[in-house]
């Protein structure tokens, strides 16, 4: 079954019609989630523009922890390929990066090009899990958290603090690297921590070569960010209520809007797996979700439409973490009857028809 309206199974056409009716009546609708292939995200932005909705991706916290810093102070960034090929010292900050395959890849390789070619690679950890599965030198985090730990470390690197301490030792190791990389997760580190870390890496570049490699969020945020930029000229959280894309990360935070009672309808787009928000179903809502996902049931929202999952039952352009770019993922199985982009375009077409009929 591919579609449900108010819990009852129906065909896609009826669900699209019900979705258009729901959105047409809304004063301040929200398009949220946007964990999907690029064609669907593009269709979602176009639909939001047509209905005056605001847009908030599930990748928002991760993206904004990075973007605020990037826009104010800049960043020293590198790629996975440069890291595995050149780095003789890799510092992993926090727990989250350890869950990514890139850590194992870094641990099992050594620098083969550049000024550190032939050197041994040292893996360092600040506030990591200390599980011992991968050989590394571990330094515990401060009680105040990762951002405070990075600040403490940076004070040693700048020479403002000194002494035979763990952070003093870590600072010496970093400064001695020929080509260093810091691996971190922006959402885990937080905006203040990211800015402190980027500042620390800039300080290190006074004495050696050092870069950062933030791991990407798992919800297509990096791909969406590029689409948002070329579509609206803005970062992702925009509102179209006044006919132009207004960027305001606080005002268009969907969880805040719903908690404050400002939104009266929501469209949740997640053709790829994404955590289901608590508020889905608490207000008139449409869920466009991947077929076979836990949300592809009649009770997930007022209107539920199951669509092809990119890379499985549909083709789609997705963020490729290994190559750090957007690539096309063909379907690996039988293509689904519906695609997210097709459903969103159909809803928009139906809205246009309804508007024409009412004139």
């Amino acid at each position: 079954m591919a579609a449900w309206v108010k819990g009852g199974a129906t065909d896609a056409d009826a669900a699209v019609d019900a979705a258009a009716t729901l959105l047409a009546a809304a004063r301040t609708p929200i398009v949220a989630g946007l964990c999907a292939e690029l064609s669907a995200v593009r269709a979602a932005y176009h639909l939001a523009d047509a209905i005056g909705a605001s847009v908030d991706p599930v990748a928002g916290p991760n993206l904004y922890a990075e973007l605020g810093v990037l826009s104010r102070t800049g960043a020293m960034l590198t790629t996975p390929a440069e890291t595995t090929g050149r780095a003789d010292a890799v510092l992993i900050v926090g727990n989250a990066p350890w869950e990514r395959p890139i850590v194992q890849e870094i641990a099992e390789s050594a620098p083969t090009r550049g000024r550190a070619a032939g050197a041994e690679r040292t893996l360092l950890s600040l506030g990591g899990p200390r599980n011992g599965a991968t050989r590394h030198v571990a330094y515990p985090a401060e009680a105040g958290g990762l951002a405070v730990s990075v600040a403490h470390l940076r004070a040693y690197l700048k020479g403002h603090l000194a002494g035979e301490t763990a952070y003093g030792d870590l600072a010496r190791r970093l400064a001695a690297a020929q080509y260093g990389v810091v691996l971190y997760d922006a959402a885990e580190l937080g905006e203040l921590g990211v800015e402190m870390l980027q500042g620390m890496v800039k300080d290190l570049n006074e004495v050696t070569r050092f870069f950062t490699l933030p791991v990407s969020d798992p919800y297509q945020g990096r791909a969406l960010l590029q689409l948002a930029a070329w579509t609206t000229g803005q970062a992702p959280r925009v509102g179209f209520g006044r006919h132009v894309p207004e960027h305001d990360p606080w005002r268009f935070d969907s969880a805040r809007q719903i908690a404050a009672g400002e939104a009266d309808a929501v469209l949740w787009l997640a053709s790829l797996p994404a955590p289901r928000p608590d508020w889905l179903g608490t207000l008139p809502s449409i869920a466009i979700v991947g077929e076979g996902s836990p949300e592809a049931t009649g009770d997930a929202a007022e209107i539920v439409i199951a669509v092809g999952v990119p890379g499985e039952s549909a083709g789609g352009s997705l963020w490729n973490d290994r190559r750090a770019t957007i690539t096309y993922a063909p379907p690996t199985g039988q293509p689904a009857e519906l695609t997210a982009a097709g459903v969103l375009a159909a809803i928009q077409d139906r809205l246009v028809q309804k508007k024409a009929a009412s004139c």
Partner: protein
């Protein structure tokens, strides 16, 4: 004195960027009623939400506030605005001159980028009061921000100039501060995180970042001058500045020219 009286809670967030005493003084009541203030496709106007009485004066009173009134007094360049009730985000943002007074509470980013004038909030303020909005270079930038109640986290984040007086504030007050002065009854954890310069004065704080170091107690002329400048605004804060204080220097992770003064009592 011109008066706008809110009829009922607005159905959507309203943007008051263009509703200032100066802009209203050039309009008739009928023209003012057509000012767009809505933020949805419904195109709400000032007259849809408020009863309007104008007398072309430099003083504007908004009777009946709401947490959905955004940018009240933003870019104000003279005159006064008094809100009887609450306001939303960016109160007095980018304001250059004049005064804005709120009898209730304010949302986030109050006084962000304000270069002059005085903003007074009788109740509480949200996060980032006197702090920088997304991608902005600076938070409070020369204005005076007085919060009589409690401010949220990140008070004065990336503040560049001016003065913030607050009863109590949450975590990370004065974070990434470039310069300026914050005086507070008490502050949460990690005040001054990443601050480059500037002065934070508090009777008590939460946990300090280890990149702040104590530099002892001092009897400085600067503190007496600070106390004198604070007294007209808040005798309690002036008394704090005049009392025994312990000085911490930081944030040593950055430039390290900031100072945190905490009551030694």
């Amino acid at each position: 004195m011109s008066t706008l009286t809110l009829r009922q809670e607005p159905p959507e967030r309203l943007d008051f960027l263009h509703v200032t005493p100066l802009s209203l003084s050039r309009l008739s009541e009928a023209e003012a009623a057509r000012l767009p203030v809505g933020t949805s496709r419904r195109g709400l106007t000032l007259g849809d939400c408020f009863t309007i009485a104008l007398d072309k004066s430099e003083d504007l009173v908004i009777e009946g506030g709401s947490s959905r009134l955004d940018r009240v007094g933003a870019s104000l360049d003279g005159g006064s605005i008094r809100v009887v009730g609450d306001v939303g985000q960016r109160l007095g943002a980018g304001m250059k001159n004049g005064s804005v007074t709120v009898t209730g509470s304010a949302g986030p980013f109050a006084g962000s980028g304000a270069t002059g004038g005085t903003i007074t909030i009788a109740g509480d303020a949200g996060d980032h009061a006197g702090g920088a909005v997304y991608a902005a270079k600076a938070g409070l930038d020369g204005a005076t921000l007085v919060i009589k109640g409690t401010a949220g986290d990140h008070l004065g984040d990336r503040m560049r100039r001016g003065l913030i007086l607050v009863g109590t504030a949450g975590a990370h007050a004065g974070s990434r501060m470039i310069a300026g002065t914050i005086a507070a009854g008490s502050l949460g954890d990690h005040p001054g995180f990443g601050m480059r310069r500037g002065t934070i004065l508090a009777s008590a704080t939460g946990a300090l970042t280890p990149s702040f170091v104590e530099t002892g107690t001092h009897d400085l002329v600067f503190l007496r001058l600070l106390a004198r400048s604070l007294r007209p605004l808040s005798p309690a804060h002036a008394d704090l500045a005049a009392g025994a204080l312990t000085r911490y220097s930081g944030d040593l992770a950055t430039l390290g020219k900031g100072e945190l003064w905490v009551s030694a009592a």
